[in-house]
Amino acid sequence: MIRKLAISLSAFAAMTGAPAVAQDIDVKLGVLNDRSGTYADLSGEGSAVATRMAVEDFGAAEKGMDVEVLSADHQNKPDVGSNIAREWYDVEGVDAIVDVPTSSVALAVADITADNNGVFLISGAGSTSLTREQCQPTTVHWTYDTAALANGTGGAVTNAGGEKWFFLTADYAFGHSLEENTMDVVRENGGEVVGSVRHPFPAQDFSSYLLQAQGSGADVIGLANAGSDTVNAIKQASEFGITQAGQSLAALLMFVTDVHSLGAETAQGLNLTEAFYWDQNDATREWTERYEAEMGSKPTMVHAGAYSSTLAYLAAVEALGSAEDGAAVVAQMREMDIDDPFFGKVEIRGDGRAVHDMYLFEVKSPDQSEGEWDLYNQVATISGEDAFLPMLEECDFSKQ
């Protein structure tokens, strides 16, 4: 009787993908982001929560994988971020680093990850350099990048008649990259760039820059910044009567937490591009409910990206049976057909860019909005091919 049971059990185990159970894979994930500064709400602890949810939903424990999630604050400083990343790889034995908003920090972490043959699952950072000039075989750039934002918002606003652009740009890697990508899109669509000003990051007072933008005679003021910088710039633009005088604003990167902070009254009518909105479909709503129970606020696309990229990563590790060789895990991720609950069909290209649909949203007016978080109307879907830049030949690691 007992023998019979043992045989049927082992047969059952063999059928349900038993190798993983026997392997006992150890995985250590490090969520590195801004936990205290201007990007803490759009990434921060929320990304750690999302990553832990991914580990749980993947069923890591049942599959014999022992996954541990660490988190740390890089304070938006490349030196702080680099030190933590090195310590994680050298001392803690971390296998993959997740999130890392602030492109200047992400670029540093990408190199360190490649040196240590780890895996870098980027959700929060936006610079296209991560998969172009500074591409690495161990990088997966999941959620968005500045080219996708430029193609989404920049394209939509230029086509709607906003021909002359003035840029207000955060003076660091991300801002420069977003400005450059958007300028290209504006020019491609027949628009013109009449000027730009680079402001220190982070800044509080934008009145001086806004006045320069006003004097430039532009139709559109493109905000190539993020977080509280964007929020303050929009608030002050309305205070100084800039929007009332006929110039429009294009917030090139805005997260739902920023729009929430501005309120529908001030933010209404703004176009913005995101990869995820909590109220898109049943899957996002159900996940948001669980996320909110833990965090007390709605998730941003960065949180969703941390979740989804972790799911894909764990699936690749499971298939390989080990998380040791980072480049091999990323190669495996490129091979897989990923059908993600939020991002849909995702293809990870040879350069590490995760290609998926992006969405153009418009912020609802206060009468349309049914709650403080009911903020977006979806205007258009931008296919992955249209949203992201084509791959550079020298960055195609699938052929190397």
């Binding site: 003076d171 220190p200 902070s261």
Partner: protein
């Protein structure tokens, strides 16, 4: 019309005015620091955190109690000032006989704790606070559109700054205060309660920060890091003006606001640094500060 370095005069006038508005915050904040340093010898690093706390108190008044901007402009500095007095009584007063550094460390720690608490409860994205209705809209000055609320900031800060200067330099109460810091034992012998006076002074300095915080709430997003971003600059302003000099702090505040505003036109990337460059130059040429007396 004339042009200066390729900048048309209209733009220049606008930028000067904006500089003056930002200078108003520097002036009120550095004044509070100067009062506290001048009379208590405490380098109050918690100043930025208390400025932020007052903005939050104003937000709480509006959202939890339905109390608007005008009462909050008085009430929230009072509350933050009272909180400051509690800090002074329970903690700072134990450090007066020690080196400045201890006061700096304590207030720095307090700033981190206060900021951390607000961050924990309210996040960092910031909370909306509307401009009061009476001050909505703006005036077209020809060279720029001046929001009425910004004009109010300049008026309010000038009144508060010069009121404070008058109180300390020109009244009997101010004379007691100055005497009390010079020689507390002797002034105490005349029947003046010196410790009480010092507590009230600290409370007053903090209330000034609170006043600036409420002024800032409608134009910047109310968030836990709003003070942190400002305080270092304000310290540089105090150093440039001369530690402890009341008039020095006020004038330097406005002046550096304007310098910073102009930098934003000519070389925006340097606008963060310009004040510190000036600080370094002043420290090299006149270590006691522009308005300080040589020690």
């Amino acid at each position: 019309m004339f042009e200066l370095l390729g900048i048309p005069p209209q733009v220049l006038l606008g930028q000067l005015l904006l500089g003056l508005i930002n200078g108003s915050f520097y002036a009120v904040l550095s004044l509070g620091l100067a009062v506290i340093f001048g009379l208590l010898n405490i380098i109050n690093f918690a100043h930025g955190a208390l400025y932020m706390a007052a903005a939050f108190v104003a937000w709480m008044f509006l959202n939890y109690l339905g109390i608007g901007y005008w009462p909050a402009l008085i009430l929230s500095p009072l509350i933050v000032g009272a909180f400051g007095m509690v800090l002074e009584r329970t903690m700072l007063s134990r450090l007066y006989h020690l080196d400045h550094l201890y006061g700096l460390l304590l207030t720095f720690g307090l700033a981190l704790v206060i900021q951390g608490l607000f961050r924990n409860y309210y996040g960092v994205s910031g909370l909306p606070y509307q401009i009061p209705e009476a001050l909505g809209g703006g005036t077209n000055l020809g060279f720029m559109f001046l929001p009425n609320y910004r004009a109010w900031i300049v008026v309010a800060s000038v009144l508060v700054c010069f009121g404070t200067w008058f109180l300390i330099e020109k009244t009997r109460l101010g004379a007691y205060l100055r005497a009390g810091t010079e020689n507390p034992v002797l002034v105490g012998a005349f029947g003046v309660n010196v410790p009480l006076m010092i507590t009230l002074t600290y409370g007053f300095g903090v209330a000034l920060a609170g006043f600036a915080g409420v002024l800032a709430a409608p134009i910047y997003s109310v968030n836990p890091v709003m003070g942190e971003q400002l305080i270092i600059t304000v310290f540089a302003v105090v150093v440039i003006g001369g530690m402890g000099s009341i008039m020095g702090a006020i004038l330097t505040g406005y002046m550096l606001g304007i310098v910073e505003g102009l930098t934003r036109v000519f070389y925006p990337e340097g606008s963060n640094v310009v004040i510190f460059v000036i600080m370094a130059i002043v420290l090299m040429l006149k270590p006691e500060g522009l308005f300080g007396r040589p020690a």
